[in-house]
Symmetry: C2
Subunit: 387 residues, 2 copies
């Protein structure tokens, strides 16, 4: 892969496969509960150099997982951040050793509500302990030790992923050189919490939710979870992006002088399809758990509600990125983080990207976004003498 020059178009990393590790050390969660052991599923891309200084941690968001790049055997769709991770790409697997982990409480193989509680021998379900972003950071720290990495070259994430990157900078300031915080926020707004609460109520109102014990009864609140996802989906996009993609196109028929009902707009079919697809691949208890984690996140609460006091504990450099049409995690939120970092005397770059894609922009191809990430990380690789 070292033969790839900058003139060659970036290619996918190709076939990848996940790994699983049993972290055989107790993890004390923020809520006080101790997980004596836990399992983590993760993927790595690229090679850890002999100095072990080229490792990058990718932090996923609400519905993400460890499969960030490359393809699984037989799959036609690559990982969720394949646009940005791979040989010659912005997060360059030719130069960095990239670690992408499915976090605890999620539902893609790491310990979570669908796992068996060793203390009872039964599935955790709704009894899985409440989580905070710092719990994900501490679990990632144990994985870091397992991989014998001393210090991350960068911790990178969008949305909830950016919250983890910020939390890393405060909890383990000497364990990362850079935090890349994309489309994130120091805390959710009341509107954001409101949307999350509606999503949770949609799940809990589904009669198949059974107070969260649906797995034990071989049931699943598929309708509720689909609704929750539909709410998320539409708010992660911009009005403009939806308008451009769907307009008011009808899936069939007309709505003047027609007795036929229902007549569907294409946006309706699309949303229903997305909701149903998601609900067959995600766990409802995980959705509740992780939206709560988002709501609870409050960077500076324990620092006297002063973001500046909080960030004074950080030692790394920061790259902040926001997207103009993102109304769930608006550019104003990234500006607030940047302002606090500047006041705290930290080294920070902030790039506000023009995009009509809403919050989802952080996952989608965008030339300026790609260049911002790419330039920042290329300089970093050069400094580290990576590859």
């Amino acid at each position: 892969m070292a033969s790839l020059s900058l003139q060659t178009p970036a290619k996918s990393i190709g076939l990848v496969s996940p790994q699983k590790v049993l972290i055989d050390k107790p993890l004390t969660l923020a809520c006080g509960t101790v997980l004596p052991t836990h399992e983590l599923v993760f993927e790595t891309y690229g090679t850890l150099n002999s100095d072990k200084n080229n490792a990058i941690l990718i932090c996923h968001a609400l519905s993400g997982n460890h499969h960030a790049a490359g393809f699984y055997e037989g799959d036609s769709k690559p990982g969720w951040w394949d646009h940005y991770i791979g040989p010659g790409k912005a997060i360059d697997s030719d130069r960095f050793f990239i670690v992408s982990v499915n976090n605890i409480g999620s539902c893609f193989g790491s310990t979570g509500p669908t796992s068996t509680n060793p203390a009872t021998g039964r599935v955790w379900g709704a009894d899985f302990p409440s989580l905070r972003a710092r719990d994900w950071v501490e679990s990632q720290k144990l994985l870091m030790e397992h991989l014998a990495i001393e210090c991350w070259a960068a911790v990178i994430g969008g949305s909830l992923g950016g919250m983890q990157a910020m939390r890393w900078s405060l909890e383990h300031p000497d364990k990362l050189l850079n935090a890349v915080v994309i489309a994130s926020s120091m805390k959710l707004s009341a509107q954001n919490i409101a949307f999350n609460e509606i999503a949770r109520r949609a799940i809990k109102s589904d009669p198949n939710f059974c107070d969260g014990n649906y797995l034990q009864q071989n049931r699943a609140p598929l309708h509720g979870l689909a609704l929750a996802r539909m709410i998320g989906h539409v708010t992660y996009l911009s009005d403009e992006a939806l308008g451009k993609k769907f307009g008011r196109e009808l899936a069939s028929g007309d709505f003047i002088g027609s007795t036929e009902d229902p007549i569907e707009f294409q946006i309706e079919s699309y949303l229903n399809y997305q909701g149903d697809k998601f609900s067959s691949n995600f766990d409802a208890n995980s959705y509740i758990l992780i939206t709560k984690m988002l709501d609870y996140f409050d960077l500076s609460r324990e620092y006297g509600n002063s973001p500046v006091s909080a960030f004074e504990h950080a030692q790394c450099n920061f790259l902040l990125i926001s997207f103009s049409s993102d109304w769930r995690f608006s550019p104003k939120r990234s500006q607030e983080i940047t302002d606090a970092l500047i006041t705290a005397g930290k080294n920070v770059s902030y790039t506000a990207i023009e995009s009509n894609q809403g919050h989802d922009a952080f996952l989608l191809p965008n030339d300026r976004y790609q260049k911002t990430l790419s330039n920042y990380l290329r300089r970093l690789a050069d400094q580290l003498g990576a590859a």
Copy 2:
């Protein structure tokens, strides 16, 4: 009431009571179905003058009804637009005869899904015919004839109410002198349709929905309807308004180092309360019917998709009002209407109001909004020689 001078602060109109009329003429709906008769519940405020030229029609929106102003015996809360309707108020009952009607398909006494279908002797329920805004206009026209009003001095409405006012100007151009179109749009955006579709799916997913035949089974999809309303409610407010009202205040407890769950934010309790309150007062089939009416509304579809061609049919004057933080019916939508009216050579005033209250601003006290309405209608009353 004529003794009220302009120096006296505006007072509520006081006790009011609704009237009911059986419209004994067939109403052919846009979908082709004919309602042989229908009932309308309405209220009036003020007195029709001898010239019968001082009548104003108030058009309600999705969840509104005929009770726009004054108090019912024993009620502590006035009608939904009492801030703006009453003696000495912007829509001045000392000078105008104000008619406020609950429209068909709604659920406050006028013929709708909760009424008995005379053809079957059973409740309409989900079989109530699909409606368009023009059907409300035609029903209002029959009420107008019943009241022996030849021409409205003004037709006024916010949101879906504004759509009715615009439709009046095209369908019966000689039957109104003014259309006051507040926080409205010539058609919904894909995002608006998406939110409505999620609301409908929330209702339909409720096992008590029973394919819309819940009344026949003495059931009601209260959870689904509450969810639908929660989605509407949060999108009718602005991020800023929610932030100012609730911030991230917790209803109780703390979320660091606490094992107690659930910990609620005040915004969550508020939303859940609002949703539950609404679902006990509204009918789910009506909610589906009227959100569909909103989605279908497309002012210029039958005019070659040209708003200018559409408005060339109008003869009345127009007042357009929008609110800066309204992201469901943004100022851009009112600007589009204004531009089309100007190009069509119509007489139009447009006032963009600063407000942090989102779409709900059209219902709430706002000094500049009050003055805009008040000045416009005072001039109108003077022209008409009203009172």
